[in-house]
Each structure stands twice: as structure tokens, then as C-alpha cells.
């Protein structure tokens, strides 16, 4: 690994100042499970590594049924799924948190880092998009801004963060009554692999639990960025829960997939998988919404 300097600030202001001091040659370090591999392999370069795990706001994991979840960008996956109130309120977030990498990786890797790494295959990103997540970003001079999760990634490994900006936390709205969410991916093994395709969905049902009020669907590994399949989700709004409605949403999601052929899968396979996974995740999300 090429030499770099290291700093471990304790406040957002110091972290942002450190990041700004080196522009695109500074990198924020949370779990390091992507960054250190990339620095070692020469895929990213850094003169300064800013370890943000000492900043309190990046370590917070606070949930209330009234305000929702604020998840600090440096909270490792294991603390997400070990948190009982978060696990019961957002099973659709626990799905990716508990299948990213190994137990060793889940002890370090963070949902915020998954977003900032901005891989098209990032498992937590479709889940965050489906759950209506918003990214809280800090910049220099105390400036902050909020970006909806579906607008965060701009290309493979690229996102809206400008040099000197820091992802502080992700906010999820409180789960609506009769709502449920799910993320599933396809990999050719049981564990430890990168999604050939992945789908995250969330649904809100009416009080009879027989009709969709609204739905959000997002896709992984089928485009240069995670995809918010808005038409597919919107197609369900107001419809009775039925195989036909789910099939229609799956078709629309497949139409939003723009995959490539590569060593993990073909365009045809990935498009097909989006259909299968959209159906399966909707069915699971509906079960969860019904408390089944």
C-alpha cells in the first residue's frame, strides 16, 4: 500500500476540515473493508486517510417510532442487526446488514460505507432506497444538506459527495402502519459473494391489508448505479394485492434494469433475476406488512 497520513478527528468540523485539506486526495475511513482493499490494489489513492469512527454523530443509532431511525455512517452492520428495536422496525434493513460479507466483515463494514463506496452491487443501497432513506451530509463551514438515497450514487464508485464533504448519517422514516420491506439477492453460493442481481422492496398496505397504498422498489447490480424503479413501485399504489399486480410490477422493474454481461452474469440472466427477485421480495414484504 502506498504511504498516506492518518488522522482520527473527534468532531464533524475537524473531520470535514481534514477532508477539505486534501480535496480528492483525502478518503474517509469507516470499516475499511472496501477502502483498504482499494488502496492496497491501487484502485483508489489517498494522501490522507480520515478515520471517522471517533466522531459521535457517525456512531449514533437512534430509533423512535415517532421520528424513525438515524443511523450514523460509521455504525458497523453487526450493531445494526444486534439492535432489537431497529431489527423489529426495519427487517428490510436487517436483510442486507446480515448478508454483506462474513461475520468478520459485518463487524467492521458500515451501511454508510456501503453507500459511499457506491458499488452498483452494494446490498444495502436498494434496501435504503426502498425504505425512503435520506443521506445527511456535512460540508465545510457547518453546512449540511440532505440527499434522498436514490440520488446519492452517480456512477460505479461515484456519488454526490464533493471533496470535503462527509456522509454523517442515514435517516429512515418511521415504518408506516401495515408496512413491510425485504431485500434479496441472487448469488451462485450461499455466502460471501457479490450480487448477480438484488432487489429491495417496501410496501404499505391499507387497514384491511388487502390493498397496496404505496410501494418502493430498487435494484442492485443491473446498472452503473443502484436503480430506483419508481414506475414499478408506483404501479402497485391503490391496487388489490394480487399475483397479477405483483407480476406487472416485476415486468416494470425488469424494464428499468440496464445490466451488462460480465463474469458474474449475463444481461438476460440479470433481467430475469430482477423479475424473480421483485416477485419474491414483494411477497415477503407483504407477509411482513401483514405480520405473518
Amino acid at each position: 500500500m502506498e504511504a498516506f497520513e492518518y488522522t482520527a478527528p473527534k468532531t464533524i468540523a475537524d473531520a470535514v476540515a481534514a477532508l477539505a485539506s486534501k480535496g480528492d486526495q483525502a478518503r474517509a475511513l469507516a470499516g475499511g473493508t472496501d477502502l483498504l482493499v482499494q488502496l492496497r490494489g491501487g484502485r483508489r489513492r489517498a494522501q490522507l486517510v480520515v478515520d471517522v469512527k471517533g466522531v459521535p454523530e457517525l456512531n449514533q443509532i437512534s430509533y423512535s417510532a415517532r421520528t424513525g431511525l438515524t443511523l450514523g455512517a460509521a455504525v458497523p452492520c453487526c450493531l445494526v442487526y444486534q439492535n432489537k428495536s431497529v431489527a423489529s422496525a426495519y427487517p428490510g434493513l436487517i436483510d442486507p446488514a446480515s448478508l454483506i460479507g462474513s461475520i468478520q466483515i459485518q463487524g467492521r463494514a458500515t451501511i454508510g460505507g456501503n453507500l459511499c463506496n457506491s458499488a452498483p452491487s452494494g446490498d444495502s443501497i436498494p434496501a435504503i432506497i426502498a425504505l425512503g432513506g435520506v443521506c445527511n451530509i456535512a460540508g465545510s463551514g457547518g453546512k449540511t444538506r440532505q440527499v434522498p438515497a436514490e440520488q446519492f450514487c452517480t456512477g460505479p464508485g461515484r456519488n454526490v459527495l464533493q471533496p470535503g464533504e462527509l456522509l454523517v448519517s442515514i435517516h429512515l422514516p418511521p415504518p408506516a402502519a401495515n408496512s413491510g420491506a425485504n431485500y434479496q439477492r441472487f448469488i451462485p453460493r450461499n455466502e460471501m459473494d457479490i450480487a448477480v442481481a438484488g432487489v429491495g422492496t417496501s410496501v404499505v398496505l391499507d387497514s384491511s391489508k388487502r390493498n397496496f397504498v404505496s410501494a418502493r422498489i430498487a435494484l442492485a447490480s443491473v446498472a452503473p448505479t443502484p436503480v430506483f424503479a419508481k414506475k414499478a413501485g408506483d404501479s402497485l399504489a391503490g391496487k388489490p394485492v394480487s399475483d397479477a399486480a405483483i407480476e406487472e410490477a416485476a415486468k416494470l422493474a425488469m424494464a428499468d434494469a440496464k445490466p451488462i454481461d460480465d463474469m458474474r452474469g449475463t444481461i438476460k440472466q440479470r433481467t430475469h433475476l430482477v423479475g424473480v427477485l421483485t416477485r419474491r421480495t414483494l411477497q415477503t414484504a407483504i407477509k411482513r406488512a401483514r405480520g405473518e
Binding site: M1, E2, A3, F4, E5, Y6, A8, L29, G31, G32, T33, L36, V37, L39, R40, G41, V49, D51, K53, C78, G101, S102, I103, Q104, I105, G107, R108, N190, E191, M192
Partner: protein
């Protein structure tokens, strides 16, 4: 060129001070700076689990931790398991079940298994296999390793 950084940490219960470059991984610091070569380097990118150590009680791949991140933390390595009274039950069970051939993956498997048994002393085979998915072994085919972890559970229970 950035200078060396002084790191003060606790390894296997002992306070340890060392100097390292910020770019050096905890794995490099353990092996090359401190001469603690029990922790093995496999893939060096977080896939194989050979370099697994406990960091504040949680298993991590030490190739994906910077040495400087060890400041003020508690680290447990394979060297910390045996006592003057003898091997840790996991070490004994791995020997008795012949759960190793080349041995490079073994310290990582034992550290990962220790973390599991500390929390879930009665983990079943399925749970053990899932927990150890981040540790690769190219020799044994895993069955002997799983049997050794199950035997270690019995040994630990019998001791209590």
C-alpha cells in the same frame, strides 16, 4: 513521507507499544513489527479469514484494520488462547479431530470459533458453518473443522 506513529494497545491482556506507518495493517504490525506470527496472511483482502483476530471482542480480518486503529483497543490473537495449564479446548479439539493439514487457516478458524462459542456455547452445526463462512480452508473440506468445534463445545461444557 509520513512518519512513524506510536500506538499503545492491549494484546492478549498485555499493554503493548509499537511504532508503525499509517499504511501498515494490523496484520503487518502483529507479524512484522511485533514478531507475533501466529496470525496468518492469506488473501490480504478480507476474503479468507486467515488473519482473524478479536478486536474489542469482535472478530475482524486484521488485514483490513490499520495498525494505528489499534490505539487504545483490546486485541486477542491465537497466541493468547493457550495458558500455562494447557491448550484451549478449541486447540485441543482441532488436534484430536485432525482439523488441519497445512495449518495456515487454523489460527483464523480457531479465533472465529472462539468468538462464536463465547457467545453461543451450544451453537449447532448449521450455525457453526454459517459463522465460519468467512474462513476458507483448502485442505480439510471443512467437516473435520466443524467436528472439532462441536467437540470443543462438549469439552468446555464438561469443564464447567
Amino acid at each position: 513521507m509520513p512518519g512513524l506513529v506510536h500506538v499503545q494497545t492491549t494484546i492478549n491482556g498485555n499493554e503493548v507499544n509499537f511504532l508503525c506507518e499509517p499504511r501498515q495493517s494490523l496484520l503487518e504490525c502483529l507479524r512484522d513489527v511485533l514478531g507475533m506470527t501466529g496470525t496468518k496472511e492469506g488473501c490480504n483482502d478480507g476474503n479468507c479469514g486467515a488473519c482473524t483476530v478479536l478486536l474489542d471482542g469482535r472478530i475482524v480480518t486484521s488485514c483490513l484494520v490499520l495498525g494505528v486503529e489499534a490505539q487504545g483497543r483490546q486485541i486477542t490473537t491465537i497466541e493468547g488462547l493457550a495458558t500455562p495449564q494447557g491448550l484451549h479446548p478449541l486447540q485441543q479439539a482441532f488436534l484430536e479431530q485432525a482439523a488441519l493439514q497445512c495449518g495456515i487457516c487454523t489460527p483464523g478458524f480457531i479465533m472465529a470459533s472462539k468468538a462464536l462459542l463465547d457467545k453461543e456455547p451450544e451453537a449447532d452445526e448449521g450455525r457453526i458453518r454459517h459463522w465460519l463462512a468467512g474462513n476458507l480452508c483448502r485442505c480439510t473440506g471443512y467437516d473435520k473443522i466443524v467436528r472439532a468445534v462441536l467437540q470443543a463445545e462438549d469439552m468446555i461444557k464438561a469443564k464447567k
